[in-house]
């Protein structure tokens, strides 16, 4: 939902970043306001996953230029855990398994970290169980997953649902979902997308990173950005995604070639 008077949550200006010695982001500009749903599309290697990791603070990526302001503060100055506590959420493309750490305990510790930052009371194990059982319904997840180690032995679809469950618990202001649709069958996709739609509100914003139109059939973006060569080449409404679906990415490559020669 686009509202001209909405608060700006995230403001990315000329962001450049590299991994090891390889420049990946070469000047990304993007502003996200409360209530909006953005989609970033692009080929593999266009830099869209890197953008999500840089925003969340992954240590393997080095920012070499530009700035990111999150609700007025310098995001790049914050540790990854501080970003999370302040309401920035990254839903991972490949959530890692953490053997030995109970999913329930993990969810409780992270939920409490976020709650404390918001000035809310810490939830004890009982209060948290009530909350988590209620939120499980958002993604139609079996409570048995709470008893297992974090993501250990989960199928691809179960991992993605666990991500959305975390999102439901952490109540983020900006949720970045990196290829959340990849590896999901059509039913799982509906459940996950349903969860995202359910959580979207006029106060928060969602940044979807995706390859395919099919996610955007179930979550309607306000803006679609096409990324290539570490930059956002074009921004439009939801019809831009349909155009991509129609014409493929070849025209993007051509535009990029022209840009890089210039």
């Amino acid at each position: 939902m686009i509202r001209p008077d909405a608060d700006t949550l995230l403001e990315i200006v000329d962001l450049q970043a590299r991994v090891e010695d390889k420049p990946i982001l070469k000047g990304v500009n993007l502003t996200i306001k409360a209530g909006e749903i953005h989609a970033v599309m692009g080929r593999n290697g266009s830099g869209k996953s890197t953008l999500s990791k840089v925003l969340a603070g992954h240590p393997a990526y080095t920012v070499t230029g530009g700035s990111v302001r999150y609700r007025g503060a310098d995001l790049l100055d914050l540790e990854p855990e501080q970003r999370a506590r302040l309401g920035l959420f990254l839903g991972f493309q490949y959530p890692v398994e953490i053997p030995g750490v109970s999913n329930l305990e993990f969810l409780r510790v992270s939920t409490n970290a976020r709650r404390m930052e918001k000035g809310e009371e810490e939830l004890d194990t009982f209060a948290f169980e009530d909350l988590v059982r209620e939120r499980l319904q958002v993604v139609q997840m079996d409570p048995a997953f709470l008893e297992r180690s974090v993501n250990e032995g989960f199928s691809g679809g179960e991992k993605k649902r666990n991500e959305i469950l975390q999102m439901a618990l952490l109540d983020p202001l900006v949720a970045i979902l990196d290829e959340t649709d990849s590896g999901l069958d059509i039913d799982a996709l509906r459940i996950v997308a349903g969860g995202v739609n359910h959580l979207a509100s006029p106060e928060n914003a969602t940044l979807l990173i995706t390859h395919y139109q099919r996610l955007l059939d179930v979550i309607t973006p306000d803006y679609v950005h096409v990324m290539a060569g570490g930059r956002i080449l074009r921004t439009g409404g939801k019809e831009l995604a349909l155009e991509l679906e129609d014409r493929g990415y070849d025209w993007v490559d051509q535009e990029l070639a022209v840009l890089e020669v210039a």
């Binding site: 990854p80 890692v96 993990f106 510790v109």
Partner: protein
């Protein structure tokens, strides 16, 4: 990359217990000879049988060679360059704590082991051993009401010589191995526990070992006897000052469990580990063995090994009584240049004996951590069962983990299971936890304690949380 997330400098937490207490000590000249053995014995006013025990051990030691089969490397130890007896200069053990040198009490206070009446831990009796000499034992009278003897081994030699003569060296014979022979010849002090028939020890017993002198070898001797139907839970803790030389610690612990008796022995070992370049630290060569002598007896070892430059230690169980049970739960953490070669031996002699081994090795920095374990099933051990699980966790990419399981079975009806796994704390796992609002160090500690949970669950409750914290502290700065 921000400074707090650098795996490389995760190990920088200074050792909290590295101070030296300035106290006058009574030391003998360095070097080892028959005369030194006699001198130690006479300083302690020992009966003839003990002197004979020591001299026999010394003769055996002279003919033995230092073992070299462990995956450990260290410069040769010069046994003539060491002092074999040092004691804080204090006449006789004090009847009351008020007479103990306040400096000593202060030392233990600083270590978090208050001994004085007002401050001491409730429901944990403590024997405080300073440079191999027991300086105080709390709650003795209360224990005595139950017939439980808890005192230093030197006192036991004086007050209960018949028990010492009956049990000392019956589990770990003096010629068992090079370090056990050395200990048998020169041991200075340690704890003695005796739980009479049918008594359940009313409180946790604990010995706290503190090394203070820089050039002194440490040779404690601990003996725990649980008579028929008796049970006891015992915990030892250890720390030492930071010196840039290596000190030898060669202790012997013997446990005897008669019919239906149960002994639970827990260790939190935090000797000084040397600095990040491997300078200094304790060489910990320890022989610990329990003898399930009676039917249905039960011996359980739980160890959390975090200190020492070198750890060579295999707490073992000889399961002789029918239906006796041996357990070994271990967390061994190495960091920087530490080396550990540790594990257990489960010797199944009697029928229907059972043993469980759960070993968790964590290697960080440039350290090396090996599990070495033997499961032996003798011809009479019908229906014996063993289950072993050995897991290793690597932190960073410079550390090494090895598992050496040995299984020997002479009994076709026995069942032996062994499982092993290796995992690594990856930067991606840490980032995942961080991106959910969990701080870096808490993330490491969550993963490590998740990994160690099976073992920590075995520790007495008062110490489980302590162990968790200790590991987190040891790893601070080692992941990034």
């Amino acid at each position: 990359m921000s400074s707090s997330t650098s795996v490389g400098d995760l190990v920088s937490q200074p050792y909290k217990y590295g101070f030296v207490t300035d106290i006058e000590t009574d030391k003998i000249d360095k070097g080892l000879s028959e005369d030194v053995v006699r001198l130690i014995s006479s300083k302690k006013g020992e009966p003839q049988f003990l002197l004979d025990f020591r001299l026999r051990a010394y003769q055996q030691w002279l003919r033995m060679e230092e073992p070299d089969w462990a995956a450990l490397g260290h410069p040769a130890i010069d046994y003539q360059e060491m002092i074999y007896y040092a004691a804080p200069r204090q006449q006789e053990k004090k009847a009351s704590l008020d007479e103990v040198d306040p400096k000593l009490l202060e030392t233990f206070d600083k270590l978090g082991i208050p001994l004085s009446e007002q401050k001491r831990l409730s429901n944990v009796a403590v024997d405080a051993v300073f440079d191999s000499v027991s300086i105080a034992t709390t709650y003795r009278e209360k224990l005595a009401e139950h017939g439980v003897i808890f005192c230093s081994i030197s006192e036991a030699v004086k007050d209960h010589p018949e028990l010492i003569e009956r049990y000392l060296g019956t589990v770990v014979p003096s010629n068992d191995n090079f370090f056990a022979a050395l200990n048998s010849a020169v041991f200075s002090d340690g704890s003695f526990v005796f739980i009479p028939k049918g008594v359940e020890c009313p409180m946790e017993l604990s010995t706290y070992f503190r090394i203070n002198s820089g050039d002194t070898g440490q040779f404690e001797r601990t003996l725990i006897v649980a008579e028929e139907g008796a049970s006891v839970s015992y915990l030892e803790g250890c720390t030492a000052p930071m010196f840039d030389t290596n000190q030898l610690h060669a202790a012997v612990v013997e446990l005897v469990a008669l019919d239906d008796a149960s002994i639970k022995y827990s260790t939190v070992q935090n000797w000084y580990a040397g600095d990040e370049n491997g300078v200094g630290g304790i060489y910990n060569f320890v022989t610990k063995r329990g003898h399930c002598r009676g039917d249905r007896s039960h011996i359980s070892w739980t160890q959390v090994e975090t200190g020492s430059a070198i750890t060579w230690k295999y707490p073992s169980c000889v399961l002789q009584g029918a239906h006796s049970v041996g357990e070994f739960y271990s967390v061994a953490l190495t960091n920087n240049r530490q080396q550990a070669d540790t594990g257990t031996k489960m010797i199944h002699v009697g029928p229907h004996t059972r043993s469980t081994i759960v070993s968790k090795g964590i290697s960080a920095g440039h350290s090396s951590n090996s599990y070495r374990g033997l499961v032996q099933i003798g011809p009479k051990a019908r229906g014996a069962r063993n289950y072993s699980q050995c897991d290793s966790m690597l932190i960073g990419d410079q550390a090494a983990a090895n598992t050496y399981p040995y299984i020997r079975s002479q009994q076709p009806e026995a069942s032996v299971e062994h499982e092993a796994s290796t995992c690594r704390i990856s930067a991606d796992q840490l980032f995942y936890l961080q991106s959910r609002g969990i701080g870096f160090e808490e993330a490491v500690s969550m993963m490590v304690s998740g990994f160690c949970r099976d073992v920590f669950n075995q520790l007495p409750m008062e110490f489980a949380a302590e162990a968790d914290k200790l590991l987190a502290l040891k790893l601070e700065g080692s992941v990034g």
